[in-house]
Symmetry: C2
């Protein structure tokens, strides 16, 4: 608003794709950002491992720090943007140094927040320094803002998220092209949609970090990555994708957090989602989150979950908030009030299940199976048997009515012991996401 606006000078730690994306937005959209904040947002200093690398942007005007932690003490830096990654090491050290000095800290680092979120929030609150991490979850989708601010009137009853673009891309191509997991993964690695070491994505760890952060905000508890039951998509096979479709579902890797009577259930696993639900139609690398609140009802958010532009958009959105003087406790309530996570064990989960068995095509098989289910009080919703596998076995696929995961697992164990069952049964949770 002033003709001689004040400045907000950034220090950027980490000059990978997202760091360069932030520089691009700050440069390209400088006038817009100035109009929206009443301040001139500039870059004062940067830090990265390799000073010599050509990153396609001119860094000559910015001070260089070999040690990222030095950005915390650089008096020409008003706000530090951390884009190095990693739950510990320099990212953690930099966060602590900034917040202890009362310097605003904006990060895209989900591992850092999922691991040290409560401690960092306490540091930030002590100095009323901003600690913001919109880019840590679901890239460009302003979902942390929706939870901490837009839906702040509500007790959240539950949320479901497709939070990892790599997994959703792999599942989408497996379904569309009828290809096996390994082949799609290899191709995703070739074209840069999956890392050389894909563990972090496909085993659900990345989704778990993000889910822990969303659950912490939604339910006012400290993020707790250590007690979060996590399964990835490695064991998803094409036959289940096909049966899912036939039954009116699609398989998605979900982060789930839900208020139950006796605690909050937080978990990450592949699930069968009804084709009519919003998350079922989120394809390729897109991310999406559905959130239900006690007054607002169900709401949904969708967009790019990764990539230079979307992630940098979220980082700069946080910077705009800081420039506007927005401040409140980083998790929406004071860190001291964040409850201990009362994660429920997954055995207590009550839900419906998809079970696929490969059985010998002999008399009495169906009786064995239905008796096993009856013994565990698992009641059948639908059942289908069709065609023959190459080895002469037959697939039997069934969905259950609501039951505890404990009972479903017990039935699975009994199936494993049956002579007519030819291989370890497959089970997937069904989620109305």
């Amino acid at each position: 608003m002033s003709s001689n606006p004040s400045q907000l000078r950034l220090g950027i730690a980490g000059l990978g794709t997202v760091g360069i994306g932030v520089i691009k937005i700050v440069e390209d959209n400088a006038d817009l950002l100035s109009a929206r904040t009443g301040q001139k947002i500039t870059i004062a200093a940067v830090s990265a491992r390799d000073r010599g690398r050509d990153r396609g942007v001119d860094l000559g005007a910015y001070a260089w720090h070999d040690n990222a932690v030095d950005l915390a003490g650089d008096d020409n830096v008003d706000l530090v943007v951390e884009l190095m990654g990693g739950s510990d090491g320099p990212a953690y050290a930099l966060a602590k140094a900034c917040l202890a000095a009362g310097k605003p800290f904006v990060t895209a680092n989900k591992a850092l927040i999922a691991t040290h979120g409560k401690e960092l929030a306490q540091l930030a609150e002590g100095k009323k320094a901003a600690l913001r991490f919109e880019a840590a979850v679901a890239g460009g989708i302003p979902i942390i803002k929706a939870l901490t601010e837009g839906l702040s009137a509500n007790n959240i009853s539950g949320l479901h998220g497709i939070l990892n673009g790599t997994c959703n891309y792999i599942l989408t191509r497996m379904e569309r092209e009828g290809l096996p997991f390994d082949e799609v993964l290899a191709d995703a690695q070739r074209i840069g949609y999956a890392e050389a070491d894909p563990t972090f994505d496909i085993d659900g760890i990345d989704t778990a970090h993000k889910t822990a952060i969303l659950a912490a905000i939604a339910f006012g508890m400290a993020p707790d990555i250590d007690n979060l039951p996590t399964e990835g998509i490695r064991n998803i096979v094409s036959v289940d994708i096909d049966y899912a479709r036939e039954l009116g579902y699609r398989i998605k890797l979900l982060g789930v957090a839900r208020q139950q009577d006796d605690g909050v259930e937080v978990r990450v696993h592949p699930a069968m989602v009804p084709l009519s639900s919003p998350l079922a139609n989120v394809m390729d690398a897109t991310n999406a989150v559905t959130v239900s609140g006690d007054h607002v009802g169900p709401t949904g958010y969708e967009g790019a979950g990764a990539g230079q532009g979307p992630t940098a958009s979220a980082v700069v959105g946080d910077i705009v908030d800081v420039a506007r003087g927005v401040w409140y406790p980083p998790f929406g309530v004071p860190a001291a009030e964040l409850g201990s996570p009362a994660h429920l064990g997954s055995e207590a989960h009550i839900g419906t299940y998809y079970i696929r068995l490969k059985v010998a095509d002999v008399p009495g098989v169906m009786a064995d199976i239905t008796q096993t289910l009856a013994r565990e009080k698992v009641s059948i919703d639908s059942m289908l048997q069709r065609g023959h596998a190459d080895d002469g076995g037959v697939y039997i696929v069934l969905t259950t009515h609501e039951t505890t995961e404990e009972a479903a697992n017990a039935a699975l164990n009994h199936f494993n012991a049956l002579e007519c069952v030819l291989e370890s049964p497959a089970m997937l949770r069904i989620e109305a996401a």
Copy 2:
């Protein structure tokens, strides 16, 4: 954070469904709101037309003002919530009185903001008073927050919204049940989904108010309801819904705002939306908005667009922001910098079109039609002719390649003059929303 938190005392003008919803949230979720704001949020005073009416909540503890405008001067009221509606009259008077006194003002009143938004923003900025209106657009969906804050790093290239639940409900039932517009409208009125006088909804006026507000924020221009081309859904007939489906589309009433080379195009009209696009699958009374930014790419938001809980959720979300001390210019940039809306005339719109003609089943008809289109340089993308109408006429349905609306309208006028054309042709824009 303090054990003796300060208070934020509300004055509520208007005790209809939403007003009562706000009281319920403030009472039911008092502890939550206190944890999230560090303040005790209470209700100090209320105002409504009829003091005697039973509203199902106990208003005995609150001061009563017969004249809503008196809330502005009530020293026991820290923030005024306006839920009376109407672009002028008491709502406008109350807004001006509050903001002139530097008192925060939260409203769900789309007509007020679409009509007087710039003037009120200037008043608010002069006193650094909060003027917030999340509930004015798309009910419980925090779309204004997404535009002003979450996506603030971006130049917005375009947005599309399903912003009126009544229209979407009517279109959904017309398609699902094959019923004509009048019959579904009458039924919607019976069950309370449409007003006795439905004009405001079905003629697109409500959508236009909301679209004007979203466009103002997205493109940094004053809201301008007077120059916003607006068409409603009165003329949508079942035969077009059926053809849309056959061609892979669904008809939705859209609010559209899009950056073009020479200005911003803002318009409200029914459109055919590809079934693969996110908005096509938004059914019943649900609202949804898609927004594209230069760095974030496409994003989407969905939820309940009206009703007690969702609308009150948005109002209380704004109250929480005010309690947290969040302040920035109401439209995201200073009101003085809001450009004059450079709405483009709809003739300049370049797009693809659906055209349906009822023609006599005589030789030479197809030649007449294709020659007319060729003369206006409108090129055909697809064409179908099937069956006979009851009166012996035949429907010819075509979609065009990209063309100006001017050319499409010219072709339509020529069709009207052809002897073989039996009734006024139908035309719908196709939008990749």
